[in-house]
């Protein structure tokens, strides 16, 4: 059902070739192993792993989750077991499932990014691409992400680019004005594509205790509530025509995914939706295919950016 039927779903983001435009969002799919119990994750365009740092990180104090109206806040704080753990434990398993992998990495400074890249170097042929998470809103309370410092974006991208041969994706933040400038710098640094958006800074407060609902005071907001905001960011960046875009933020079903493609994203990321509908990724791929088939469109590339005027 997914393959065949004469409709082309494959997209290219520079050197990154995806058999269909649906990837998972970093941090919402782990390395794909859990969800592989619900469906064959190799049908996805790619699995984007959660962000790994050089050494393991404990993450933020709980509570880490707060549900908001049609959205959620998280302050996970990049809890992860470190890049070596990923390489030794997750990578062989997820590879054996046949999934294409985008590895998300995160560092506190350009130096840490380089150190991770050197580790990744050893297995880069097993990976489709590396995504540089320059935009986590959860590290410090309201902390500034690299993504809002365009010069840093270029520096880090360039540094990693010198080490790795596989394509780089730069993940940018909606929490600053500088998406376009940062995308330009990412391109200068050698990136192949950008992912937008990471979660939006938000908070919630308990009116009985007067304490924040999250251990880390603020968190990153994601889910259907933020879709119109994410879509506008994608639309404007696509219009600026700098690098291919993986669009994400609030995608819940295939209609949302198509909307991002039409707005100019070359691929889409499914995040929070995975928590609500464990089969979201699969259903979105099927939905896109049916949509194209009903519309008599034989190539997904024909709708990408169609709304841009």
């Amino acid at each position: 059902m997914i393959e065949g039927s004469g409709i082309n779903l494959s997209v290219n983001l520079g050197r990154i070739k995806l058999k269909n435009p649906v990837v998972t969002c970093s941090g919402t799919f782990s390395s794909g192993l859990e969800y592989s119990e619900f469906y064959d994750v190799s049908i996805l365009g790619a699995v984007t792993t959660k962000s790994f740092s050089f050494v393991s990180r404990a993450g933020n104090p709980p509570p880490r989750i707060w549900e908001t109206t049609c959205g959620m806040l998280n302050s996970i704080g990049l809890q992860n077991e470190g890049i070596d753990f990923f390489i030794k434990n997750h990578l062989p398993k997820i590879k054996s499932l046949g999934a294409k992998i985008i590895l998300s990495i995160f560092g506190d400074d350009p130096g840490e990014f380089k150190k991770i890249a050197r580790e990744v170097k050893k297995v880069e042929s097993s990976l489709l691409a590396v995504e540089l998470n320059l935009s986590c809103p959860n590290v410090k309370e309201g902390g500034i992400a690299f993504s809002s410092m365009p010069a840093e974006v270029e520096k880090i991208t360039e540094a990693v680019c010198k080490i790795l041969e596989i394509p780089l994706i730069v993940k940018l933040s909606p929490n600053s004005d500088s998406i376009i400038e940062s995308a330009i710098r990412a391109k200068c640094g050698g990136a192949e594509a950008v992912s937008i958006i990471n979660s939006i800074v938000g908070t919630a407060i308990d009116i009985d205790t007067f304490k924040p609902r999250l251990g880390n005071v603020t968190g990153g907001m994601s889910g259907p509530a933020i879709k119109p905001i994410a879509l506008a960011k994608v639309y404007f960046l696509a219009k600026a025509d700098i690098l291919p875009i993986i669009g994400m933020g609030g995608i819940y079903d295939w209609r949302d995914a198509v909307e991002f493609l039409v707005a100019g994203a070359s691929a889409v990321g499914v995040g929070t939706a995975n928590f609500v509908d464990y089969e979201a990724g699969k259903k979105i791929i099927e939905g896109i295919r049916n949509y194209l088939s009903k519309k008599g469109i034989n190539d997904i590339n024909k709708i990408i950016g169609k709304a841009i005027c």
């Binding site: 119990e37 989750i65 549900e67 049609c70 809890q79 995975n274």
Partner: protein
Amino acid sequence: MKLLSGEIISNEKCGKGLYKIEVFSPYICRNANAGQFVNVKCSPDGILDPLLRRPFSIYNVEKEYNVFSILYLEKGKGTKFLSDLKKGSNLNFAGPLGSSISIGDRSKNFLLVGGGIGIAPLYFLARTLIQKGKNIFFAAGFKDNNFIEWSGELTRLGINYRIFTEDGSWGDEGLATDFVKENIKKYKNYKIYCCGPRDMLISMQDILAGKKISVTALLEERMACGVGVCRGCAVKIKDGNGSFVYKTVCKDGPAFDLMEVIFD
């Protein structure tokens, strides 16, 4: 674990804001073990408020009928939606989630200590222990007599139990934990399982400190995914080096060695 849809066999009130929902699911009945839970979509198809699934312990499994049940308290909009669901309609849920409680052959005697709705997973555990021919004592504590209608189910298990209420309106006046404290010597050779509010679990830690009695607690934490991918439901667990690691309630738990849990 699977994403499932099962027919609702019944959904009945058994106390103020307390309900039991029975759902047809051969898969859950075949695969669920005590300590596990299901993650339930609590809004109609296509409606996203509330957005996230709600976790509920598996309260009972009736293999003969392929029916499992959840005992739940109406708290907010998710459980309000649940309580409005009609018999004959379908429940959208995923499960069984979380790790199973493994019951070794060595232990013979079990003390179950439940507080409020915390009795729900212990009920399934009790039934499992009965099947294995274990000796069980169930100490259940409540605020008031709201669970009195439910207690028929406990009686029918045919095990020894005692009820405590804070207001004395049912059973003995007092806390289940005070009972445990006073009688702790009796339970030296018991394995203890407890589930209930945070304060109750902290009391249990105090009571059992230094006592070398094995005690397992079933924890709750706000969840996003329920399957171990988001790290949202983190709890602090001692790691042996005097430090701690964050473990997930949804995948590593909900059952943890209570003496290893750091409440802060």
